[in-house]
Symmetry: D2
Subunit: 225 residues, 4 copies
Amino acid sequence: MSDYGQTFALWRDAAGQHWPAYTRHRFVEGLGDGSLPRAAFLDYMVQDYLFLVHFSRAWALAVTKAETVDEMRLCAATVNALINDEMALHIRTCADLGLTEADLFEAEEKPQNIAYTRYVLDAGHAGDLLDLLAALAPCVMGYGEIGARLKGEATSESYADWIATYASEDYQQVCREVGALIDAAITRRLGTTPQDSPRWTALTQRFTTATRLEVGFWDMGLEAA
Amino acid sequence: MSDYGQTFALWRDAAGQHWPAYTRHRFVEGLGDGSLPRAAFLDYMVQDYLFLVHFSRAWALAVTKAETVDEMRLCAATVNALINDEMALHIRTCADLGLTEADLFEAEEKPQNIAYTRYVLDAGHAGDLLDLLAALAPCVMGYGEIGARLKGEATSESYADWIATYASEDYQQVCREVGALIDAAITRRLGTTPQDSPRWTALTQRFTTATRLEVGFWDMGLEAA
Amino acid sequence: MSDYGQTFALWRDAAGQHWPAYTRHRFVEGLGDGSLPRAAFLDYMVQDYLFLVHFSRAWALAVTKAETVDEMRLCAATVNALINDEMALHIRTCADLGLTEADLFEAEEKPQNIAYTRYVLDAGHAGDLLDLLAALAPCVMGYGEIGARLKGEATSESYADWIATYASEDYQQVCREVGALIDAAITRRLGTTPQDSPRWTALTQRFTTATRLEVGFWDMGLEAA
Amino acid sequence: MSDYGQTFALWRDAAGQHWPAYTRHRFVEGLGDGSLPRAAFLDYMVQDYLFLVHFSRAWALAVTKAETVDEMRLCAATVNALINDEMALHIRTCADLGLTEADLFEAEEKPQNIAYTRYVLDAGHAGDLLDLLAALAPCVMGYGEIGARLKGEATSESYADWIATYASEDYQQVCREVGALIDAAITRRLGTTPQDSPRWTALTQRFTTATRLEVGFWDMGLEAA
């Protein structure tokens, strides 16, 4: 299993069966064995583009909530990685269908998509950087885990481009860096035994709720099939 | 039809069939004719309590985005009406089932609930007071319309307490005051012919998206039956 | 010395000589012995009205960052006390000079005023409720201490109305309630030995910076003499 | 005079004598003729580093308030230019004195510095992207004008490194791009005759207040001499 830091490992455990419900969702397995209908994938790509727009906004919000230069720089770098690198996959894939980036940007967000991104943004506005990071982590690291696993397990080439994006060393490095950011941010605010902090449960709940909303996102993807 | 101001009437028209899909939803009709299963109603009341918590937060956010004393005072008064009056219905109803307010506060939010409240909050953070008011309006005024209509049309006493709350002169007065607030806020920022403003379409879309999310909220209520 | 809770007492101690520099500032002593020029007082009242506008916005922001019903209700009640009660003193006093509330609202904010209120608001946006409360506390409790002390020590009737407002049982009760809110919010997030939390120093610095900005506010008042 | 877009030109005119009070401040002239005491310059560099931290946060906030991909990308790029390029001048200059970046980050912010940065951040939180851009513009463009002018007029080499940074083609390009961003954002929200919008006056006041706070920032710099 990928090593994205101590805090992530604890939060993932605390999410219980919600974590595999997300990372081994039928949508995900369909990416690996090629059984996912192309229409469902394309609908997902459009929604995921919109997701990335608001996810980038959430990482930008993190810049405003950082307390150290290192926190600021890494959050700002992540905004750029999202806007300039990860979105490129979506733009490229959708261009093959004749959809321009403007078409993607103007597409209608589905409720499950709205639920997830706005929950993350509100976690940041309501709390501090830790609340925001706990809501951001499931997407960043979950996709890293999925990419790394499917790279070895995929039995179909149908979605090789998608798998390669998240299995790439670049993306895995983002996951490790975000994991290190979270570990350092936790130590800075909760000390070296964060599980003893009264905030620990609330933070695991943030992570778990975001994980549940990831499951809803995949469900949405299958509904479009 | 109730008169909650000029802007509301225009936004409601722009929402097209989404508006009656919300205000004449099967859940609503079930409140009027008593066909709504009690279990669905109670599940809805728990979710709606959580909704009001975050809706109150959104009206508090409006206080921080007001530009005049009148805007500030009315938004602050609305926070209080929500926290102290409207929530009382929910606490009273749920107390009959043995649920304390603490139980309500700790209940798990469903995704459709998260989608709606966090969308409204983000509308406020992303934009100015108008963006926020356009997202707040469908709930405030829609419930006013529903209450006023069911007061005359209801054929069952099953949900008379709920209907009386929203049909009450107090609640209707809130709707008229919020309508006047919106009209004044629009004139202040967009002038006397707001439909000519380049922002008009985006504001109607905010209103329409919030209306769609209201439909999802009722759907969620029926799913619990 | 007034008892506004355990946390406040610790934060006040941590502020060192900045605390008496604020609560025993020459401006304050001039309110007690009547030596403060009337022009300075009136200029201060105009600026303080604007201060209260933004201070109310900061308490409204606190509503959006609350994690319990009690936190929400007390923050919302404080917004109302500020907008409806405390501001009334300013409106009444300034009306005697022929200034309407609209005149007050449109007055130009001085830089020291901007520095203080926007610092408090940003403390809330950057951090969680504790960061915001640490920045809000010096004003609330400092005025409580000053009012209570001058009630006994004042040798002049010149500013009796001002002193009576902050010495009043109503205002002292606000201070005690805010003190209890802070104590509970601290325990909820940092546990029962908050001084051991890694965040403790940052919170005392928030309180101290806000106290320094209070000193600047009184300096501004004297400059207008 | 530099061409940083139509809106900037109008806002600069509306700021009246506050604009030259800022761009031709005695501190600025001292940079050009070398009469500025080194101690004042170094104190300014420490404060300006802290300013850039919060100014970067404000540009990150702009990412969260963007309504188009272009707005998002340019705001994100500006965050990076500030954090990675402009701050480098400050780190390099202060390193010569034995100050590390950590020393800079931990330095105590002066009230005039707090006033300016937190005002800008609050402009963004209170309003929409236009309110934020109007508060951001005076710093970005004012430094561009000062750099371009001093490049031709400076009679001393004492502060050549500072002048070269802001006179550089890179920095001038940032000013032109931000000017184009503002023009497009204005047209998108207020139409092609923005001066007819009811919001126009409020936006010019935002710009003027930020300009006044720039004057206070230079005053602060001289006080340290």
